[in-house]
Symmetry: C2
Subunit: 125 residues, 2 copies
């Protein structure tokens, strides 16, 4: 047994919640990035901005390795394009394989949401 009552010793309560939020996002980033690219080619900084619009904050150290991974798997391709305001940009693009894969991920996402909602709704009744 041994539970505790050490509520709010620290006052702020659940800094852990931030960690769990981050944890929950794992895996869906791939889905989001592929979705964004399905709307049109984009370069990394642009992708980060679009994710920010939907409250999904992603940083460079996360995005760049992920894009490279997706490229190496054949889901993405890219081209360089000059910019009028800075260094050249690396525009990523969904490949055909990437499009098929995206569809599968969307199905997986829907199934996951259903499964989780089914589980947590029982607890709310």
């Amino acid at each position: 047994m041994g539970n505790s009552e050490n509520t709010e010793k620290t006052g702020e309560g659940f800094e852990r919640a931030a960690g769990a939020q981050a944890q929950m996002r794992k895996g869906v980033l791939e889905l989001c990035i592929l979705s964004i690219l399905s709307q049109g080619d984009a370069y990394p900084t642009e992708i980060i901005d679009k994710l920010k619009d939907t409250k999904l904050v992603v940083v460079e150290g996360t995005l760049y390795p992920l894009l490279t991974r997706l490229k190496n798997t054949g889901l993405l391709g890219y081209r360089w394009e000059e910019s009028t305001s800075g260094p050249p940009r690396k525009y990523y693009k969904l490949t055909e394989i990437g499009e098929q894969y995206l569809k599968e991920l969307q199905v997986s996402w829907t199934e996951l949401v259903d499964a989780v909602n089914k589980t947590i709704e029982k607890g709310k009744k």
Copy 2:
């Protein structure tokens, strides 16, 4: 610079999709387990069965360390209880802290679902 479109067909389909599915589940397990325990105390094997009912398959090697983690954080407590058909069972129980934390996780989950859906819906229109 300037290469492009290295599409590199791998030919075979997406055994990778299985990996991404697994990846997407990460982090929501905590939410699901706490939700299940909010419906009443349960021991690990029972939890696994309940998760199976909602298509979220989890194995022992995943569940036990997670439960220990949640217990050490003070979100769960447990008690031993005799069984008529085997070794004693470790019944886990939500603490008060755990209940509050669960509520936060549910909010985070809802926000995540909204954010992801917002992102992928743009790609579908």
